[in-house]
Amino acid sequence: MPFNIQSLEDYYSPRTVKEACSLLLSNQDFIPIAGGSAIYIFSAKGLLQDVRGFVSLNSIPLNGIHGSDAYVELGATVTHQELLESRLQLPGVLREALLTIPKEVRSVGTVGGQLCTCFPNFDLNVALLALDAEVMVTGSDHVRSEGIEKFFKGVLEPDLRRGEIVTGIRFPKKRDLLSGYSKAALTAHGFSLISVGVALKVSGGFFEDVRVAVGGTLNTSPVRLKGVEGALRGRAVTHQTISEAAELALRDGALNVSTDFKTSSEYKRHLASVLIRRTILRVVGL
């Protein structure tokens, strides 16, 4: 067999969130899936050996896309392609991130599915982090929401307790938000070495409300570079401010990266710094 998930036998399609939660609560070795595409990547890497069953969430109506004046709300099983084709005016960072993903993955992969992997290479995670998203979670007897930064506990480690599932995600709709996404990879559609999502506002020639998210081949989930953000906030929008802030990404500790067979850690830091500078220059129109 091609994959080492020999123990995987069961496949459930619950009709309600409650039913899904109770299946997951009573079976420790079941995992929820939506599109299911990431499963095969992780199992090929030997990360899912103990899984005995899938609980498919696609049979539950969790695929709504809603926009109000204050928020955009996406159901967990909205696919990347549905989001791209929706009537919503998508923030640049989200639209650009979606277009770096092959159509074949966009057809199947879901907003909630990729989120729950907490995977730093998944482009939408970086975009949603830049957009200050909030994750909506339901358990068998409770509902809660949590900021995306806290939700990303670690790679393949969402902040979910047993029996909880993500039902949706929402992010604030900000007027005059400038945002963009950039990615460096070895092939046009490959997993990112480094990717950068920025979302910011400019008022009277000064930066405000800056968020800089970095993903790629990190040792962690996607992260915000708060040092870079701090060096921009309240400062004049100039080439110099932007270059100086972007250089802070080179500092030890800004990014937790290692050397691997594709790239050295120094090169990843360098890419992060360059992509941050270029993306900010682009979104502010310099």
């Binding site: 095969y40 696609n58 084709e85």
Partner: protein, 167 residues
């Protein structure tokens, strides 16, 4: 588990499908449809691409059971009465393949694009801001040709779109 689905227009029942099986496993090993290829198993080479409910998907990353009740189209389902279809003919005319391993994937990606252009051309224009080359690159970005014969494939795609009024 037993699943039933439509494959190339025919109602098909497949027995003994495991949760771990992919749609590609079922197509190749149970239905003997060898057009879709196993290339990279998850990194994105595109050789396994088929169409599920009008959308292109990587069948090596698609749980077989999730295809239950759906409409699956593979490269084998394109010819009609022994005749190649429009996309296939254009591939032959332009010599848009060399070793051929990636070809079924590229063809299915273009089949999906042609269907999209038929069903919703205004959405295509809107998503890509009217840039036809952008539409083509996005449709083909998830495919690798190791013989590097991309140009004739891109030309084929541009021609097919221009026939649909997109140029």
């Amino acid at each position: 588990m037993r699943i039933s689905l439509r494959v190339n227009g025919e109602e098909t029942v497949v027995d003994d499908v495991k949760a771990r099986n992919t749609l590609l496993d079922v197509l190749r090993d149970k239905l003997n449809l060898k057009g879709a290829k196993k290339g990279c198993e998850g990194e994105g080479c595109g050789a396994c691409t088929v169409i599920v409910d009008s959308r292109p998907v990587y069948s090596c990353m698609y749980p077989a059971i999730a295809a239950s009740g759906r409409d699956v189209l593979t490269v084998e389902g394109l010819e009609m009465g022994g005749e190649l279809d429009r996309v296939q003919k254009e591939f032959v005319n332009r010599w848009a393949f060399q070793c051929g391993y990636c070809t079924p994937g590229f063809i299915m990606a273009l089949e999906a694009l042609v269907r999209e252009a038929d069903s919703n051309p205004s959405k295509l224009r809107e998503v890509y801001g009217g840039k036809v080359r952008g539409i083509v690159e996005d449709a083909l970005i998830g495919h690798i040709c190791r013989c590097t014969g991309y140009e004739p494939i891109v030309e084929t795609a541009l021609l097919l779109l221009s026939e649909k009024g997109l140029d």
